[in-house]
Symmetry: C2
DNA sequence: CAAGTTTTTTACCATTTGGTAAAGTTACGA
DNA sequence: TCGTAACTTTACCAAATGGTAAAAAACTTG
């Protein structure tokens, strides 16, 4: 649509990746407006105009990150299989979400920033991509409940609570680090707690 | 320390309040860097230099908001009474947190923004004010568990999960509005769900 | 290896933004 | 009601910031 869309060169692929990696960390911690092009350039050892050579604007970097994020973010939810064992499917989903919180806290915070601020760049994407998947998976959960495999409750709120609890460990890490100053073993304690909690909630 | 600390005039009290109110909404949605003094001035019908007359700097407004917030934010946790009925004390705390999410979403988002960004202006406050209270209330909960009044689990993670779930409804409202497009009745559904969930978790 | 293409760098610009100076206006106590 | 202190407004400013122009350098390919 924009340019003739030639396949990107090796250097292009590499440098776009470097830019995204640097921008991800900065946008996640300082927000969009709180991050400057100079900071991004610094963080990836490039010069400001070089960024603009690879991305049309600061906003283009942000949008690219959000788009990439969206797919990775949804895949665990999508992986919840209607044919599997209900309790283990949901617990498996929770485990994957906890793992993502631990492995990709920057992505979690980038997403949190975007949503807290009213999802200015993501709303359409939420409507078109997240909503259908969400509705479908809510349907699966509702059926499991109907069949008496797991306890009866509002499926949407169940998913919200899973998101809330799992992402909390990434998004509010600064607070948790103050309150639970032990080393990173707190991660394991969290995993155990969260799994126990939802097992109890879901058992009929 | 700064000025002779005379008692503030009526106009001063009023206008400081107007400024805080306007700034709260803007900081909550756009973050600190994403909010300009001109926006704040606009939002409260004042001129930019007038803001600086009442607050030394943009940062001073932000800090004042965070300090005020901290106290209001902690009072429900503080209200959890060791002498009361354990289950009802915790459920009462959860109800109050849900209510705050509904009544004060701006405060919740301001706090979320600050923590997601690593709590740059709040870390000392968290250490000195939140931490002691948190430890004390964790102790109370642990005792309740020891006495067999509620189910045994990690008290700190229990509190984290309460914070996560209740604040989620304020902080991620944009997402929830897309996924549960019903009117505000979703608030009631949320209240019911959350109370049911934690009752189940806490029952021995 | 020469010509052309892609990538990087230097110098620069317009706008935005936090904040100041100082004149003008209003409120308020004696 | 008059003088002074509190408050508001207008006109600015310096630094930061997103982005551009164009030359220089590096890479590719016939």
């Amino acid at each position: 649509m924009t340019s003739p869309a030639r396949k990107p060169s090796r250097i292009q692929t590499e440098n776009r990746q470097r830019i995204r990696d640097a921008a991800l960390g900065l946008f996640a911690t300082h927000g969009f407006r709180g991050t400057t092009l100079d900071q991004i350039a610094d963080a990836c050892g490039m010069h400001k105009p070089n960024l603009i050579y690879y991305y049309d604007s600061k906003e283009a970097i942000h949008i690219d990150l959000l788009n990439t994020l969206m797919e990775e973010w949804l895949s665990p939810l999508d992986a919840m299989d209607a044919e599997g064992d209900p309790l283990e499917e949901i617990i498996g989903y929770i485990r994957r979400k906890m793992e993502m919180s631990r492995l990709y806290p920057r992505e979690s915070r980038l997403f949190a920033n975007e949503i807290v601020q009213g999802a200015p760049r993501m709303l359409p994407h939420l409507e078109s991509t997240l909503k259908p998947l969400f509705d479908k998976q809510c349907g699966i959960i509702a059926k499991w409940m109907n069949d008496g495999k797991i306890a009866e409750m509002h499926p949407a709120h169940l998913i919200f609570s899973i998101w809330a609890v799992t992402q909390h460990y990434a998004d509010f890490e600064a607070q948790i680090a103050v309150l639970l100053p032990g080393d990173d073993k707190r991660a394991r304690g969290a995993d155990q707690f969260v799994e126990m909690m939802f097992r109890k909630v879901l058992t009929p």
